[in-house]
């Protein structure tokens, strides 16, 4: 009896926290089913594109939330993605080995993560400015070293997961994707498990909420912050690799186009949880996918500039609507000083 009361109040709490998100999810689900009945080909195409568009966003959001759960605001994700995309591309051009190229991209992201951690943890610089330094530096470095006419050596191809890929609707959308897209989904689950079910996660969250408390219990605040920001950086590096090695196949100046910042909105919309971020990323991915479809068909007579700014508008709306309702790690953005 008692447990069922507790159960129902827990359910209510869950509803209160996630109700809006669940509502949106339900609407989207109904729309998808309806779309599939009306026109299955377009629906599958849009959804498959949604999953792929969501990939860099969810990876960027994972990077952001690992840092912020540990108390480091990372607004340099954009720069991390951009430089990683570039370095990954260069390695692909030089070696022709996509695996090495992806690895190089991830390492680039990690290295920039190290730089950010150095600025915000060791130098105790203003973290917002630290991230801006990374963004401007990445823009400058890629601009300076970029040479037109570099020829790519191919890109990552979709891998169909056997008979799973043949399930109608779900198969082509979820089980016939290129490797980084799969990796992103796996990472969502891994980061969720690590953050909420392991010693590492407990310490990470403690460091982001109350670093001094963690310190008094022998938890190394600096180490946790460094490690999370660096690992997050590697994940942002994967997002960069996705752009040049999986999606486009080549590099263009400033090709990240604000995805690093949109990822932050995705992180906030997802309430600093990996699963939530994934849901939010899919929503943004859907917006982009629909936008591409609209541009492709040109059925509506809307100037392309207005369609082009949809993801950015959506980001602002999400931020405005959700930032005040989310619990933000209490020590987010605050440098920790031992003495």
């Amino acid at each position: 009896m008692q447990s069922s009361i507790i159960g129902s109040s827990a359910f209510l709490r869950f509803l209160k926290r996630w109700g809006v998100n669940l509502g949106i999810g339900l609407v989207v689900l109904v729309t998808i089913i309806w779309g599939y009945i009306v026109n299955d080909k377009v629906t599958v195409a849009v959804l498959a594109s949604t999953v792929r568009q969501a990939t860099p966003l969810v990876l960027g959001a994972l990077c952001g939330l690992m840092g912020e759960r540990a108390g480091v605001i990372n607004i340099g994700i954009e720069g991390q993605m951009l430089l990683s995309a570039f370095i990954g591309f260069l390695f692909n051009v030089w070696t022709g080995n996509l695996l090495i190229a992806v690895f190089a991209a991830a390492m680039t992201g990690a290295l920039l993560g190290l730089f950010l951690a150095f600025m915000s943890v060791s130098l105790r610089m203003d973290q917002i400015i630290g991230g801006t330094v990374i963004n401007i530096l990445a823009l400058g470095l890629t601009g300076y070293f970029y040479q037109a006419g570099l020829v790519t050596q191919g890109k990552l191809q979709p891998i169909a997961l056997g008979s799973l890929a043949e399930i109608p609707l779900i198969g082509p959308v979820l089980f016939n994707n290129p490797p980084i897209t799969y990796t992103a989904i796996v990472l969502v689950l891994v980061v969720h498990y690590v953050l909420f079910h392991t010693r590492w996660g407990l310490r990470t969250r403690a460091v982001g909420e109350h670093p001094r408390a963690a310190d008094t219990l022998g938890v190394n605040v600096y180490l946790m912050r460094y490690a999370n920001v660096i690992i997050g950086g590697a994940i942002a590096g994967l997002a960069g690799a996705f752009l040049t090695l999986e999606a486009v196949g080549s590099f263009e100046r400033a090709m990240t186009n604000g995805r690093g910042f949109v990822a932050l909105a995705v992180m906030i919309f997802g309430r600093y949880t990996p699963l939530g971020a994934w849901g939010a990323a899919l929503l943004f991915g859907l917006a982009s996918a629909i936008q591409t479809q609209l541009q492709f068909f040109g059925t509506f007579n809307i100037p392309h500039q207005f369609i082009g700014m949809l993801p950015y508008l959506l980001t602002i709306i999400v931020l405005a609507g959700f930032v005040g309702r989310t619990h933000i790690p209490a020590a987010d953005g605050e440098p920790y000083e031992k003495e």
């Binding site: 912020e68 605001i73 607004i75 600025m119 130098l123 105790r124 610089m125 203003d126 973290q127 917002i128 400015i129 630290g130 801006t132 330094v133 401007i136 530096l137 823009l139 400058g140 470095l141 601009g143 300076y144 070293f145 970029y146 186009n257 604000g258 910042f261 949109v262 932050l264 909105a265 906030i268 100037p303 500039q305 207005f306 082009g308 700014m309 950015y312 508008l313 980001t315 602002i316 931020l319 405005a320 609507g321 930032v323 005040g324 933000i328 790690p329 209490a330 987010d332 953005g333 605050e334």
Partner: protein, 372 residues
Amino acid sequence: MEDKKSSHLIVRRILAWLAGLWQSLGVPLLAVLLALLIGAIILQISGASPVDAYSALFKGAFGSSKNLGRTLEKATPLIFSGLAVAFAFKAGLFNIGAQGQLLFGALASAFIGFAVKGLPPYIHIPLALFGGAAAGALYAAIPGALKTYTGAHEVITTIMLNYIAINITDYFADGPLKDTSPGNIVARTPAILDSAKIPSIQSIPIGFVLAILIAVGVWWLLWRTTIGFEIRTVGLNPSAARYAGMRVAFTVILTMVLSGFLAGMGGAIETQGVVGRYQPGFNTGLGFDGITIALLGKTHPLGVIPAALLVGAMKAGASQMQFSAGVAKEITDVIQALMLFFVAADMIVRWIFRIRSASEEKVILSGWAQGK
């Protein structure tokens, strides 16, 4: 007796001021040196000669009175974007959106410049100038209001608004306001009328003089008025500002609006003094440069002037460098980012050069949590 005491105090104030000057100016100067040094290393690594590159850069910026004029011309909008960022910074706001506000300013001033006909220059020039400034101010009010009423952090909203501004101005330049003169296929507005153009006097652009006057005005506003006191208090300690009965929300929006006003005016001056019309792609990066310039100038309105001159010189000299030393001009972006890093990471610079820390008013930018 009273006089002696007060003159003694004045001397002490001046001495303290001089010591403070080195403590606060030392870091930016050395940051520039370190950035140039690392830039040289990058040049060396990429197979270019740093000496050739830097001397070409220098000649291109200061080699002749024409080059010098170009430096001043390049520095002019940079002073404005630097002022815009520095000004917002004083209230603890990081206006990365100077870029978007500047685009709207440039477009609005171009529109007034070509569409309003029959005005004498002394009316047409300020009309277009203030029209541009007002457009920037209005656009900047959006992130200000979003921050105040919803807690959405201005860093993300202003960046998103930058992308939106690019799209909207692009739409106008390629749509309703497109230059329909025969032979034109690119997206751009018609040329502005001569009556709206800001002239140069002996290679000194009038716009540059105006920029300096505005910088002094900003300084006056910040340190000599009650509004400035409110802005600075909100930036240093918003809780204390509330305690003191200041209207924090209003001050945040007002600061953003004035910041956007400055950025918009920068765009207008670029249109009326240099480009002569609005054309997408002609103003890229000016807003982002504002961040470097503001921090390099220690977010002080008068510090922004030399910082903008430095970055302006790098821009003016970059083409010469690319032409005669064969170095891609993007290296100046790298050097700028390094300058930004070393200024922001003043701990490193102070540690390398053993400079004591200045007891300056340090604004802390709000994280997400303090957004509301």
